[in-house]
Amino acid sequence: MQRKFVTLALATALAGTAASAQAFCGFYVGKADASLFNEASKVIMVRDGDRTVINMLNDYQGDLTEFALVVPVPVVLHKEDVKTPLRAVFDRVDAYSAPRLAEYYDPNPCRPPYPAARAEQSAVAKSMGRAIAEDRAEALGVRVEAQYTVGPYDIVILSAEQSDGLETWLHENGYRIPAGASRALAPYIRQDMKFFVAKVNLEEHAKSGAEFLAPLQFAFHTEKFMLPIRLGMLNARGPQDLVLWVLSKKGRVETTNYRTVKLPANVELPPYVKFDADHSFARFYLAMFDEQARRENYRVAFTEYFWDMSWCDPCAANPLNAQELANLGVGGVSGDTRRGARVMLTRLHVRYTPETFPEDLVLQETADRRNWQTRYVLRHPAKFDLADCPNRASAERYLVALGRRQEREAQTLATLTGWDVDAIRAKALIAPDGDAAQDIAPGASQGAVDTPLARLWRWLQDGGAQR
């Protein structure tokens, strides 16, 4: 029986899931298709001192007999170090940290000073074969350090003296190893790392009645704060996506051997994004991420979210509670996390190729505690009748400013996604929100042009990356 060699490249669907929630200012309306970024690996890491917990979600949908997972780990893991966390908690973390769309309504300029903003709340809640020949293993320099069954998985912890032996052992035990595995395994063996190998125990999986494979969690102590990604590139075709959440106590987590940058966010987009099928928020985000990753030549890790988990604004989903955090391996949190449990969540999104990410991700926890999110803003124009406006001068000023703003929004959307600005202008004009508003003046491009000078100006205006 041949098993496919699946490492960190777990086929999953990254869901920018959404739930409706009213927030301090603006309303959360964003939703993104569950199929967004399919085939992204999803990993939730917990780091507290040298204690590390890695949770890996696997949306593997092929033949279960062919599934196998190989992850280098720094120490021998025992049965109590390995668990199967709830799949639903992954969805919760994903939903909480998902890129979000917030909408605001312009006050009616005919009715000063401060009419209450009307808002409609629209959001969608989305919700090994046991027998191992010890002698043969020894002859190959492979040592079975431990083996046990956890949930639906048969797990073996291996150590090896040389990569050839390990490759042979994996071959002989039914793992289909891609070409080059030996070379990729060697550096881990040299560093005296062990290999966590899991395959599905069909009986246990059938007993659980679960449709999908359960996530896997393993905990260990190590001074190395890193995530092995190189093995997963062995059978890579084209760029791969990894979404990495890190739960930590001090501050934002970033990579130290690659650049970590924030995605362009907190900008205003044309309100039609809320309704349009072609330019929906999910499609916008997908196109924007594609464009930004390409511009950076697939050489950076993007920060998608960083927040103190005791709150959110606007909330894409409620923060995780203590039980959910414990399920992911966060220790020492009790009571209501919404009241002062110090858990910081960093969400990194990496699109990498074997060439641009030649080594594993090395991470560090910075002292940065400034909350940050990929949030996009829709501003709905006020609806009023100019002929019947007691405050005509102010309404006219508003309309002029609105025209400029709409052009800026169109330019921003075009710059971020690489979409045609004329198509955007056309859509913005016929969109439901556009009818009461002024025309977008084509050619009057005051928008978010991305020149160094414009960047300098924004840097000076915005106070750098403070927001």
Partner: protein, 290 residues
């Protein structure tokens, strides 16, 4: 390149006017070049590399740095000490140090520039001010950190830093420090890559690391905090490199070079005693060595 060499490199056909002008340029204080290149790097970082830096942090760092320098110059009655060093330090802090509040940069600038006047052994200050400022901030102030990955590893950037830094280091007559450090550190790393059986792309990845080159050409190259004798300088750079390597790949901690330089700085007076040498000067006036 030495100032004389720069002037001599201009062909005689260029005419005496150009030669004289280049000669005058070459005799300018090396710190002027440093300031120009650090300003360029800061600009590049902010505009191209999305440094997570607030313009107010930069402004406050400079305000505090200049005020501290003026305070000490006046208090100690040093007639011919200008602001160049303070500006170099403030640029260095802005490029390297990251903080989530506004007060980290000015505090670090004030502390490290004060230390330059107070912590002196045999007429030399002990710590490179930028290095000390970064270390003090990360150790003592909440919300301060260093992002070693901030430059990325695009070959182009690395080339620029090397090219620009090479000139600065050459001007400061301490190219030996930079090169000795890079040779030892990269040599050790190459051995590690070979021993682990990693692909050489991993080595190239580090070779292109802007932060490493930035350290090599703008921090360890400071002649004022390095040993006086050329042999001692090489030994010192090698020592920093070995410690930085052990810090990063033995202890798996970050920012090895910065910590290694801080920890090795106390060796300098010792090395100066073992290998006595002429004290460096920025210009030809010993009064301006602060």
């Amino acid at each position: 390149m030495k100032p004389q060499a720069l002037a001599a490199a201009v062909p005689a056909a260029a005419g005496p006017g150009l030669r004289a002008r280049l000669g005058a340029l070459a005799r300018l204080d090396a710190r002027l070049y440093q300031i120009v290149f650090l300003a360029l790097l800061l600009g590049t970082g902010v505009l191209v590399r999305d440094f997570s830096l607030d313009p107010r942090q930069v402004a406050l760092a400079f305000a505090a740095g200049i005020a501290t320098q003026l305070f000490w110059v006046r208090r100690l009655g040093l007639p011919r000490v200008g602001l160049l060093s303070a500006l170099v330090t403030c640029f260095g802090l802005s490029v390297l140090l990251r903080a989530d509040s506004l007060w980290v940069h000015p505090l670090a600038a004030a502390a490290c520039l004060s230390a330059k006047f107070v912590l002196r052994i045999e007429g030399k200050h002990l710590f490179n001010p930028t290095n000390l400022g970064v270390v003090l901030a990360v150790l003592l102030l909440p919300g301060a950190w260093v992002s070693p990955g901030q430059w990325g590893s695009d070959l182009l950037v690395a080339c620029w830093v090397v090219a620009l830094g090479g000139i600065v280091a050459g001007r400061a007559r301490s190219a030996g420090l930079s090169l000795a450090f890079l040779t030892c550190f990269l040599g050790a790393y190459a051995l590690r890559v070979a021993w682990l059986g990693q692909s050489w792309a991993v080595f190239l990845h580090l070779l292109q690391n802007g932060s490493l080159l930035m350290f090599a050409f703008f921090m360890i190259s400071d002649p004022m905090t390095a040993p006086n004798h050329p042999v001692a300088r090489i030994a010192y750079a090698a020592c920093v490199a070995v410690l930085a390597f052990a810090w990063q790949f033995g202890l798996f901690l970050q920012n090895g070079p910065i910590w290694a330089l801080f920890l090795c700085a106390p060796l300098v007076p010792l090395l100066d005693r073992l290998w006595p040498g002429a004290k460096p000067v920025w210009r030809r006036n010993p009064a301006t060595t602060r």
